[in-house]
């Protein structure tokens, strides 16, 4: 089973990348689960035609008890991707990080992996590793590898560095390690060179170079990924190639 956590600066395109990657995996015949780990709960919306799944935290708030089946907190989207969103507490209250851990414990109790038997699990994680909760997806038993999404912008690279440092700090805990960088272009000057310099400094490969594309925005407006919209597009092929690379390396 390929279990990946996708981290990166807020707004850098993690959810877009994750959803397109999920869609690409399904096109390659794989069974996929995508878990959005962000209180905004918008990770999977473009796999669901714009009709979001009820986040786990919302379910707990509404029913005041834990769900008894996965079906109560998950929805199948494009290509059969099982979409789950942790959601979070009422903005300004509670603890969003704790919400992620609670969701993971719940999914474990519901034996999600044992019953659904996915080939690929993708964790789309909010911005930085700001506290214990946001490191939960990389703990033992969850993601085994991390992909960092960044552009050549200074603050995106700064966040990427913070993530790498946080992950290195957990080296003796058996947590996931960083597999590589996904360059999501914002068309800044010397973008490739800047990201290459960061990657080299940290000994990481650049696994994909994703060009800025109006097609992504166009299809997102219709509640879908570019893979769903038009698989033949050049941008779609970038995600397809990335999915193939990741599968080949893991021999899934």
């Amino acid at each position: 089973m390929l279990k990946l956590a996708i981290y990166g600066k807020g707004g850098i395109g993690k959810s877009t990348t994750t959803s397109n990657l999920a869609a690409a995996f399904t096109r390659l015949g794989k069974k996929v689960i995508q878990i959005g780990c962000d209180p905004k709960a918008d990770s999977t919306i473009n796999l669901l035609g714009g009709n979001p799944v009820q986040p786990v935290m919302d379910y707990l708030r509404e029913f005041d008890e834990e769900p008894e089946t996965i079906g109560q907190i998950a929805k199948e989207g494009f290509g059969g991707v099982l979409c789950i969103e942790t959601g979070g507490p009422t903005p300004g209250l509670g603890c969003a990080g704790r919400g992620i851990i609670t969701t993971f414990s719940l999914l474990e109790e519901l034996e999600l992996f044992e019953t659904y038997k996915p080939d690929v699990v993708l964790y789309d994680v909010l911005g930085d590793v700001v506290c214990g909760g946001f490191a939960a997806p990389i703990r033992e038993g969850y993601a085994s590898e991390i992909l960092i999404v960044t552009s050549g912008e200074k603050m995106a690279l700064y966040a990427a560095n913070n993530i790498k440092t946080a992950v290195d700090h957990f080296e003796d805990r058996g947590y996931a390690s960083v597999k590589g960088i996904l360059l999501n272009r914002r068309n800044v000057e010397n973008e490739r060179e800047k990201v290459e310099a960061f990657a080299k400094e940290n000994g990481l490969p650049i696994l994909a170079d994703i060009p800025r594309s109006d097609d992504i925005i166009r299809y997102e407006d219709q509640g879908m990924t570019v893979i769903e919209g038009d698989e033949t597009l050049a941008i779609s092929q970038v995600y397809m190639e990335l999915a193939k690379t990741l599968l080949e390396e893991e021999d899934v």
Binding site: G132, R139, E140, D172, G174, Y175
Partner: protein, 377 residues
């Protein structure tokens, strides 16, 4: 209202269930909690505290350690104390504060084990679940880690007792009575998880022919031992004379056939329950069955703590909240329960006290009867 107890007490927590299950096994158990929180356990939930030594500690987590997520002090203390005391194992037990800040107790245990070479466990308790869950996770972890060797079976039928702690069985002689009953029935006790057996004895669990699951806390370990060694399990507590005889017969049968069974699962002819009994599901369903076999009544079990559907009979109910209990008690003429449940009983008569350590602590120890293998009537 859900998750509200306005009239009654609450059960001992998962944190204390773990401590209770591990108390006699020679391990170092560390509650990762604020200083003082261990007094709840030692004062109310652990009747062995003043008479039997055990390495139960509290980490005394401070406000700043919690805010900063500083695990290093705990890891340092675990390594230093573990190296000095050389316990059989080290268990780090979660509590509300580490739960809220998402402390990774498994990772802390893993680092401590790497440094000390002592087997370490991280238990993700949070102080908000019931003791039943704590006992279950502790005994499962012990069985998983230490019961790995396959042993030659003894000639006579030998039995492991699973799910035994003072939280369910008090120190009123019940556990000794269960062991005597096993011997009286021509079988032997191989080990007891976890009162009166050393860790070395527990390691030899694979030698037994059959496991007797005496509370919910023993079920997960029983399933693991069944899977690992093919040892079947029988669920039930030998209350009353007739029911104890039936249970002994089922133990022998399971040892012979290799098939696990919940001993009290039988349909009764009467539709309406006359009485209710409140508490842990296996103990209560066993007692209810024992009484039904000796008296002409029907009794339903109301269980506010963890259980599984298979452990309940047709008329039994899960009653997680106070309101559920109040509703269920409306329709019966009597109830058997811990004295602290009297607050929910509005009738003038019909309340029969049966103290439960996990609910009222040591308050009623002096009047807690041993009902093992003796006539209920």
């Amino acid at each position: 209202m859900k998750q509200v107890a306005g009239l009654i007490s609450t059960y001992s927590s998962d944190e204390f269930g773990i401590c209770s299950a591990l108390y006699e096994l020679g391990g170092m158990v560390v509650m990762h909690d604020a200083s003082g929180c261990n007094s709840t356990y030692t004062t109310h939930d652990e009747p062995r505290w003043y008479d039997m030594d055990s390495m139960i500690y509290i980490s005394a987590i401070s406000e700043m350690e919690a805010v900063m997520g500083d695990d290093d002090k705990l890891i340092h203390d675990l390594i230093e104390t573990g190296t000095e005391l050389k316990p059989e194992f080290i268990a780090v037990v979660g509590a509300p504060i580490p739960y809220m800040i998402g402390t990774d107790l498994s990772a802390i245990a893993s680092i401590t084990e790497q440094e000390t070479g002592i087997p370490c466990f991280g238990f993700a308790a949070n102080g908000m679940h019931h003791y039943t869950k704590g006992i279950s996770m502790a005994l499962l972890a012990i069985a998983d880690r230490f019961c790995t060797k396959k042993w030659k079976k003894t000639d006579e039928i030998s039995v492991n007792l699973l799910g035994v702690t003072p939280l369910d069985f008090s120190l009123n002689g019940s556990v000794d009575s269960i062991k005597s009953w096993i011997l009286q029935e021509g079988m032997t006790v191989n080990s007891c998880f976890a009162m009166g057996s050393s860790l070395e004895e527990i390691k030899m669990a694979g030698r037994a022919h059959v496991n007797l699951v005496l509370s919910y806390g023993g079920l997960a370990a029983a399933k693991l031992l069944e899977q690992r060694f093919g040892i079947p399990y029988v669920v039930g507590v030998p209350y009353g004379r007739q029911y104890a005889d039936q249970l002994a017969s089922q133990l022998r049968q399971a040892a012979w056939t290799g098939k696990s069974v919940v001993s009290y699962q039988k349909e009764t002819k009467r539709a309406h329950s006359d009485y209710a009994i409140i508490g842990e599901s296996i103990a209560c369903a066993s007692l209810a069955t024992a009484i039904e076999m000796e008296c002409d009544v029907k009794i339903k079990v109301l269980t506010p703590v963890d259980t599984e559907h298979v452990l309940l009979r047709k008329q039994d109910r899960k009653t997680p909240d106070e309101d559920d209990l109040i509703e269920q008690l409306q329709s019966v003429q009597g109830v058997i329960a811990d004295p602290m449940y009297q607050a929910l009983w509005s009738k003038d008569s019909g309340f029969y006290t049966l103290p439960h350590e996990a609910f009222s602590g040591r308050m009623y120890d002096a009047v807690n009867p041993d009902l093992i293998n003796r006539s209920i009537r």
